[in-house]
């Protein structure tokens, strides 16, 4: 493996980590507010379908992006109604919404385009294109750092940079604002928040809405930037990998950035059998590489996190005292 290979690997790490990071931060807001959400997968899927369909029909990727966010918000609202209003089992609600998204996304895509559940390939303004950061060309002559800047840092779609900036922004929101303090409190001890006269329900719905918006960004990125269109089951377990990344990050925003980059790196390796073979010096079957991100997720969850303590009130519906 030479430097060019490494750069290419890191470049795809950035691309593949982006949907994970959006979804991971989405899960962070929800779980920090005490609402488990294993429905990230379904929200990403419905957002991918909605964004690709609307982007194709309208010709504008930005209208598509809004539609993706809208689609994910609908599913967030359903999860909120089940988990907050009706105090349902949050894990089961998430599983149900994942199935619902899996079926509905294909049904709608077939109804709209009749292509077996895919959208037609997106072109032109319906696609999100890469942007080149300033000085990328000028600096590419600088040894080592120049190509790194030009190939890995520069040359991604705008959403990649949005995702990276969202990590510190989430930190600021959670740890430096009144809203963030309350949101964290509602996930640890909702009764105390209630006693202070602040609506537990309102805060949790706000958190779930943020989750929806971020999942919308994740799905829209997948369908309009990472790939050019929606295909059935295209999220392929990323919502769950994002949850694993969230646990690995111990529910902290900046750590989430690093853990998503790590899981993105796992996915990037899986796409390059030649590099894996080069390092290991023997041939690895392709299915083994397909399974690699999932297997590494299990290993990470099993071994390296030390003690990950979830928000104390996570998964528990809040019942107001009478």
């Amino acid at each position: 493996m030479d430097y060019a290979d490494l750069l290419q690997l890191l470049d795809s790490t950035m691309r593949l980590a982006t949907p994970l990071l959006f979804a991971c931060l989405a899960g962070l807001f929800s779980e920090r507010a005490g609402i488990f959400d294993i429905g990230l997968e379904g929200k990403m899927l419905i957002a991918a379908m909605a964004s690709a369909s609307v982007a194709f029909l309208s010709g504008s990727v930005w209208v598509g992006l809004l539609a993706g966010i809208g689609g994910a918000l609908v599913f967030s609202a359903l999860h909120g109604i089940a988990a907050i209003t009706f105090r349902g089992n949050q894990l089961i609600s998430g599983v149900a919404l994942n199935f619902l998204a899996s079926g509905i996304s294909v049904l709608i895509a077939i109804r709209l385009f009749g292509q077996g559940g895919r959208t037609p390939p997106l072109t032109g303004g319906a696609r999100m294109y890469e942007i080149t950061l300033p000085f990328a060309d000028a600096l590419s002559g600088v040894p080592i750092l120049g190509p790194l800047y030009a190939n890995v840092i520069s040359g991604h779609s705008i959403l990649v940079y949005v995702a990276v900036l969202l990590a510190p922004a989430s930190w600021w929101l959670l740890y430096r604002t009144r809203f963030g303090l309350r949101l964290r409190a509602v996930g640890e001890n909702p009764a105390s928040v209630d006693t202070a006269g602040i609506s537990v329900t309102g805060l949790r719905f706000a958190a779930v809405a943020i989750t929806g918006i971020l999942c919308g960004l994740a799905g829209a990125y997948m369908a309009t930037a990472l790939q050019a269109g929606f295909g059935r089951e295209m999220t392929a377990g990323r919502g769950y990998i994002a949850l694993a990344a969230l646990i690995f990050a111990k529910w902290r925003p900046i750590a989430a950035l690093w853990s998503c980059l790590l899981f993105g790196f796992f996915q990037a390796i899986a796409l390059r059998p030649d590099i894996v073979e080069d390092i290991l010096t023997f041939k690895v079957p392709v299915p083994a590489l397909d399974a690699l991100p999932y297997a590494l997720t299990v290993i990470v969850l099993a071994g390296f996190i030390g003690k990950a303590i979830p928000p104390r009130a996570g998964g528990e519906p809040y019942v107001k005292e009478r």
Binding site: A82, F86, G88, V95, G103, Y240, L301
Partner: protein
Amino acid sequence: MDRLPRWADIALVPLVSLALAAIISALVILSIGQSPREALSVMVDGALMSSSGWGYTLYYATSFIFTGLAVTIAFHAGLFNIGGEGQAQLGGLGVAVALLTVPWPHWSVALLAASLGAAAFGAAWAAIPAYLQAKRGSHIVITTIMFNYIAASLLVYILNDVLRPQGQMDSASARFGDAIRLPTLDLIPGLNLIFSKGVPANVTLFIALAAAWGVWALLWRTRLGYQIRAYGKSEPAARYAGINPTRIIMIVMLLSGGLAGLMAINNVMGEAERLLINSASGAGFIGIAVALMGRNHPIGVVLAAVLFGFLFQGGAELGLWTKIPIELRIVIQGLVILFTGALNYMVERMLVRVFALLRTKGVA
């Protein structure tokens, strides 16, 4: 808050949930420009109005009884096993290994060997997430989901590079042979009066029913079952009573994985008669809906499994005879899980209001 009468809690809550899911499904069908009435008649015709339709409905129901029981037993210990799909695929591998390594003389001994293989492989696949949950605290929901993906890749590899006979094009194992073919319901004396044509439902149905009885007996008639339910109700209380959490988690997940794996004797040995890619075809996930719909009781699971057998067979008919995509099945599955598992409180509240209304009217 008023409580529901017991019969309403047991029977009415799932039925109302089902009705709500059906109404929304009908709206979905309308919104894709098709007729719900036609859809229902196609489903009923294809799944319930002929003996061969019932043959398929019961065949699917057999698989769903196993996966539903797998989810049920885990639920009673407070564990959510979403890994039934992967465990069932590994169960299929167990069946293939058991049947391809030894030339069994008769289907009965072959069935015994295949059952052991299926249960052992399914249990082994559940054992790793169980151990990680018990010893390392890794969330079993996420690890079992990851193991579904890993199982899919593993089977692609095994069926392409290990079990595929030389010269065969498609990724599948060799055929198990006619000598050990399981008797289908049309070959069983007595039942052959009902099932005249060949049907896929086979003797595995009776094993599934026996498994349902076994799960009931274990959970409500043994000391271990009591410990499992106590642990599921309250871990601290169970711990205080001297119940070892690691032991409960391991036993329950091994049983759960074994039950999910056992499904493979129905579809792999009984129907396909060889191991194919994606052999479980979603039955592991349907087990979640079946367990919730059946209110985590074996009798309920059997009834819900027949219902989902109808949905599965009827949904396939929809794909054949109408323009409604077969994915409608997944939508219905999701809706049933949502209403029975997450919005159950809403349904209960609704029913309590209705009962209160009826009562006041009765007085006046």
